[in-house]
């Protein structure tokens, strides 16, 4: 008989091995899926994972992967603090949207002001502040009224989605846009545009910030008291209390930090790849980042790798849709499998398989 036995301690090896195994399992299952759809599974997988990085048009796809990964990594690193401390900010998408509205709002309010070194930093501050304040709603409600931050932060996503739609047809609508929804395009506004730092690499200010965040978070978790407090609060709230960690302060800091970083990601996206405040601006980066955070084991380096992998499945997946005429639902299913496999394989971190009967105690 095969049975599961709880490990006395979570396995360190498996905690790193699980994501890799999950990726391998996803690829195998995905190949089955593509085969059932009548496509050559090897070519499909190659189109998704190999071609964007090493294929014929890699010069075009590589910067796209960077652009897609940047917001995912930035948001996921922010979320990892709260998640480690057991504070669940599920509404990063909302903070991302509000950050974009605030950051773009600053630029659009002063259009056509053209001193970049004043305007762009102001936009960054406004973006971060917008996300921060939006995250303060669930944080303060939790601290003062013991509401559930999962629910509140999630509900605020829908509020933010309505807000951006309203802004795109109202206050921030492009006055020269013939009455169509959407703001001016910030990419065509040189003082406000978040363009590639090195042309053609996709490495814009948001990507730079994401890398910076990874480094800072790594140092925080391994070397700083705050990182220790966060981990302690997550593993044992009582012990954290005895160690003098102020639980309420931790809630505010963790939610505020993740909100600010999501807001930053939104600002860099709206000023760069997206360019416009538009009803279709929300693209679920805030939710995907949750997957990225867990796929990366809440470890900054892991998140960086997971973000790049997730971005690759997006870019490669879209390429596969176009080149192999795969239905878009197949790619979504494929991405869903990744999280599913990770959760399934994660059992091995805390349990191990045993052959034979359970011992009699």
């Amino acid at each position: 008989m095969l049975r599961l036995e709880k490990r006395p301690q979570p396995s360190k090896n498996w905690s790193y091995g699980a994501p890799l195994l999950a990726v391998v399992l996803t690829i195998i299952l995905g190949m089955g899926l593509f085969a059932i759809l009548g496509k050559d599974p090897v070519i499909a997988i190659k189109t998704i994972f190999w071609d964007p990085v090493f294929g014929q048009f890699a010069h075009f796809y590589r910067p796209e992967v960077v652009k897609k990964a940047a917001p995912l990594v930035l948001i996921a690193v922010g979320l990892s603090f709260g998640f480690r401390a057991g504070i669940w900010n599920i509404g990063a998408e909302g903070q991302y949207i509000i950050g974009a509205i605030c950051g773009a709002g600053v630029a659009l309010a002063v259009y056509p002001y053209d001193t970049r070194w004043v305007l762009f930093p102001l936009m960054i501050v406004a973006g971060a502040l917008g996300g921060f304040l939006w995250a303060m709603i669930p944080a303060l409600l939790r601290v003062f009224f013991k509401t559930n931050e999962i629910l509140v932060s999630l509900m605020l996503v829908y509020v933010a989605e309505v807000l951006i739609k309203a802004f795109s047809i109202g206050l921030l609508r492009n006055p020269e846009g013939y009455g169509m929804p959407g703001s001016r395009n910030l990419r065509q506004y040189p003082a406000a545009a978040n363009l590639d730092l090195i042309s053609g690499t996709g490495f814009h200010w948001g990507a730079l910030t994401a890398v910076f965040a990874v480094v800072v978070a790594y140092v925080m978790f391994t070397r700083h008291q705050f990182g220790f407090n966060v981990r302690l609060a997550g593993q044992s709230p009582r012990a954290a209390g005895f160690a003098g960690v102020n639980a309420n302060k931790l809630i505010i800091v963790c939610l505020g930090l993740s909100g600010a970083m999501a807001g930053l990601a939104g600002l860099f996206e709206v000023a760069g790849p997206s360019g416009q405040i538009l009803g279709s601006f929300p693209s679920y980066y805030g939710f995907t980042a949750i997957i990225v955070a867990f796929l990366g084991r809440l470890n900054p380096i892991g998140i960086l790798l997971a973000g790049l992998l997730m971005a690759l499945t997006y870019i490669g997946g879209q390429a596969a849709e176009a080149q192999l005429n795969l239905p878009s639902a197949a790619i979504l299913t494929f991405q869903g499998m990744l999280l599913f496999c990770l959760l399934a394989v994660d059992v091995l971190t805390n349990y191990r398989f045993k052959i034979g009967k359970a011992e009699v105690r």
Binding site: Q56, Y178, M180, P273, L278, S280, Q318, N325, S328
Partner: protein, 360 residues
Amino acid sequence: MKRRTLLATGAGAAMAAALGLPARAQDKTKVGFIYVGPINDGGWTQHHHHSAMEMVHHFGDAVDFVYQENVPEGPDAERAITQMALGGADIIFTTSFGFMDPTINVAANFPDVKFEHATGYKQADNVSVYSARFYEGRAIQGTLAGRVTKSNKIGYIASVPIPEVIRGINSAYLHAKKVNPDVEFKVIWIFEWLNPAKEADAAKALIEQGCDVVLQHTDSTAPHQAAKEAGGVYTFGQAADMAEYGPMPRISSIIDNWSPYYIERVQAVIDGTWSSVNTWDGIGAGMVGIGEISDAVPAEAKAEAEAMRDAIAAGTYHPFTGPINKQDGSAWLAEGEIANDGDLAGMFFFVEGIEGDIPS
């Protein structure tokens, strides 16, 4: 000397083959389509795809057809379009307003590829724009609605507040009012193009408020279902004929028919005569189709609507002919004056008599 040239050419060709450079097939024209929705949405995207397939059918082996559905507007669209251009497409149709900036951006990088953007206003040397004068069809719907209503309350499920939708509401209202001075319009905005649940809710709300005609500028058949369940309510097919809901509640429809345009533009690429144009066609050119008017409509009203359809097609009648005042009472068109296309393209006001504000 000659021999050396030959060798060099041969080597060049071999190298190109070895590197796998995209060898542009001279005999086949590659046509790409970028869709915002799924190809079976029953409305907007389905009709673009349907028209595209008719175009493919028309040309047979002369064209290679590629498409991508469910492309989100924004940066993902830019990548999808670029991908298609890299894949060797000669002409790419982007069929949603939200693809405007992405299309312009990609077109700048691929000067040899032709682009056709639906419902936008930004043109370039290699970017054409095209759209349909759906307000012509709305005039006919308004006429029918004014004739069949008994409660004199007409409901309108509006999607997104853009000139296109506002033109439709104005056109329908003017023509309903013309045949029935007592009509009043109730407009519900759902801020989406396709959302069956919201569309059904809006239809039910309108019917509860006493509307016995429900017009829609949204793509699903949900309002028809709601009308059918309520009974005694008239509806119109949108984008598709939606004939399965006839003869009641669906009494007519506006059908998007892009295939003549697609055939013409692809032919121009094949002939090498393509140039950037701004096309805005209506019933006359066949881009806007009026679905069969069902027998639930009284014969005189049907004849009246058909006469209007033919007059619009012949160019002898324009749905926006003065006198027309704006909602605030200020004059827009004088007696006999015909609206110019610029005013129509940017129309962002209701005409006199419609209640409520345009959301902004």
